[in-house]
């Protein structure tokens, strides 16, 4: 059998062309344009070297980078811990109606980030929102805060809303992982007289590690690229308090500072490139094992 003729290369052209033109080409162009002063006001642009990158790491813009990192670290940690705890909880036999609980926890995942942002923006409205009216109703007036406009509160609020949306998905993945662990291990551990904490640290956790790594990768790549959630909840505000890289890119884009928008996007690109190196390494490792 002639492999080349049986599996013709042109079967792959559709995917390859679409991906190259609408995904890879912009990335490539982006790197080129990041060394210029390209904007939407003048047709001709000139080479400015690393000026844009210098600006991106200066005081005005570095805030966006740190906010992105902060958001990513917090949401990844919260979703992983919460998702893991929920998965452990809902795989216990004494939980009544656990499949209903699983469905409910997963529900936010099918809603769009934008809609979730809008739902919570109205729920958290300082005077007319559900949360504050509810708190006042049960006499907790002091807890009725300006969730989305207070400089100290806004970031934790955004992170919690994002966790509300994303933790259920991580839970579903973790449950799939937990169920794939053979009960024989636990039986053997019971015979050896292990307690539940030992069973968790010696059996569950090691066997769940590949899943935890996968969900962490998912959470990190989501967190670094976050846009919809923040755009709809706060639009980066108040001021720049919750601005992340992708909201800044959109701001620069709408203001016509195209080169700066590209540069910020490129920084994300380079960070991801490093991460991807490790992801592919870990996948190759797995293929060998299979």
């Amino acid at each position: 059998m002639n492999i080349k003729r049986t599996y013709p290369w042109y079967f792959a052209t559709g995917a390859l062309v679409l991906y190259s033109v609408f995904f890879f080409l912009p990335s490539l162009l982006g790197i080129g344009y990041s060394f210029t002063d390209w904007n939407s006001y003048f047709d001709n642009f000139k080479f400015v070297g690393l000026e844009n990158y210098r600006k991106a790491f200066s005081s005005d813009y570095s805030k966006y980078i740190w906010n992105t990192v902060y958001f990513t670290v917090c949401t990844t940690t919260l979703k992983t811990v919460l998702g893991c705890l929920l998965a452990l909880l809902l795989t216990q036999k004494f939980i009544k109606g656990s499949s209903v609980h699983r469905m409910i926890y997963f529900l936010p995942q099918v809603l769009s980030y934008l809609v979730v942002g809008l739902i919570f923006k109205s729920m958290l409205h300082p005077t007319r929102g559900f949360v504050n009216n509810f708190l006042r109703g049960i006499g907790l007036d002091r807890l009725a805060l300006n969730w989305l406009t207070d400089l100290h509160l806004v970031f934790p609020t955004v992170i919690l809303v994002d966790t509300w949306k994303g933790a259920g998905y991580i839970m579903v993945v973790m449950i799939a992982g937990l169920l794939s662990i053979s009960p024989d291990y636990y039986e053997a551990a019971d015979i050896d007289g292990a307690n539940s904490f030992q069973k968790f640290t010696k059996i569950t956790l090691p066997l769940l590690t590949p899943i935890i790594i996968n969900t962490t990768v998912l959470n990190i790549t989501y967190g670094l690229r976050v846009f919809d959630m923040i755009y709809s909840l706060t639009n980066g505000g108040p001021g720049d308090a919750t601005g992340v890289i992708n909201t800044a890119v959109y701001k620069e884009f709408s203001n016509g500072n195209l080169a700066m928008g590209t540069t910020l996007s490129d920084i994300l690109f380079f960070v991801m490139l490093v991460l991807i190196y490790f992801i592919i390494k870990s996948m190759e490792h797995k293929e060998v094992k299979q």
């Binding site: 059998m1 492999i3 003729r5 049986t6 599996y7 013709p8 079967f11 559709g14 995917a15 390859l16 679409l18 991906y19 033109v21 609408f22 995904f23 890879f24 912009p26 162009l29 344009y33 929920l86 004494f94 656990s98 609980h101 699983r102 926890y105 529900l107 099918v110 809603l111 769009s112 934008l114 809609v115 809008l118 739902i119 923006k121 109205s122 729920m123 007319r128 929102g129 009216n133 509300w164 579903v172 993945v173 799939a176 069973k199 899943i211 990768v217 790549t221 670094l224 919809d228 709809s232 992708n246 890119v249 959109y250 620069e252 996007s265 490129d266 991801m272 991460l275 991807i276 592919i280």
Partner: protein
Amino acid sequence: MKAGTSKTSSAILNVVAVIGSLLVLVPIYVLCVNSFKSAAESSSMSIALPKELHFENFSTVIEQGKLATSFVNSAIYSVCSVILIVLCVLFAAFVISRNNSRLNKGIYYFIIAGIAMPLNNVTLMKVLQSLHLMNTRPGVIFIYAAINIPLSLFLAYGFIGTIPRELDEAALLEGCTPFSMFTKVILPLLKPIASTLVVLNMMAVWNDFMMPLYYLNSSRKWPMTLAVYNFYGMYEKSWNLVCADIVLTILPVLLVFIAGQKYITGGVSAGAVKG
């Protein structure tokens, strides 16, 4: 844990699970009850049931929020891009998985790198302009296809590996061309992965907000996400209308979710567990 759990602690943990579920359901419940209230009644967004049902909220919203047009737009974008993605990906995954040449391995990694890579939205505008696709429906459909191909290829590649090669050989001996071998023999076997891809990509495209925000400036072409965002900005003073609009926007997705619940959770976790 199983044998030694006392009655009290199992009761406490059951309560914890219920509280967690309530935390998820309360926002959606509040949204639903307020969508039936009058403007004045909904002003404090309480959990109380509406005194009388104002169904006219929904007709107002459908008219003012241009929900009919945006629903059709969302449907066009998701259906077209899903067809494009599934076809491109299955064909590509098949040859890449069967012919493990260096070149194919390179193509595979090149494309699946896009699972994590950020898209450069600024220069993509430049590309769209030079192809005369800026502010057009095909433009957005192509972008959706391009950004969703990587994960789909990754999933399909893994699945095709489980289909025995002997089938290809038998089909060729029967006189099939490579194309008819794939479409007549292999494609029917790919139904499970194809359905997963359809569900995953359908949700991803339906829920997306960023691409129309960047690349569609005429409101006639807006999908539901952009329409609801815009509506929110205009009617922030009347929660009943905002709630009704959001309810109608999430209704299609919720119906699909409730109908195919097991299927969706299976599909979305498949990628992460296999990966």
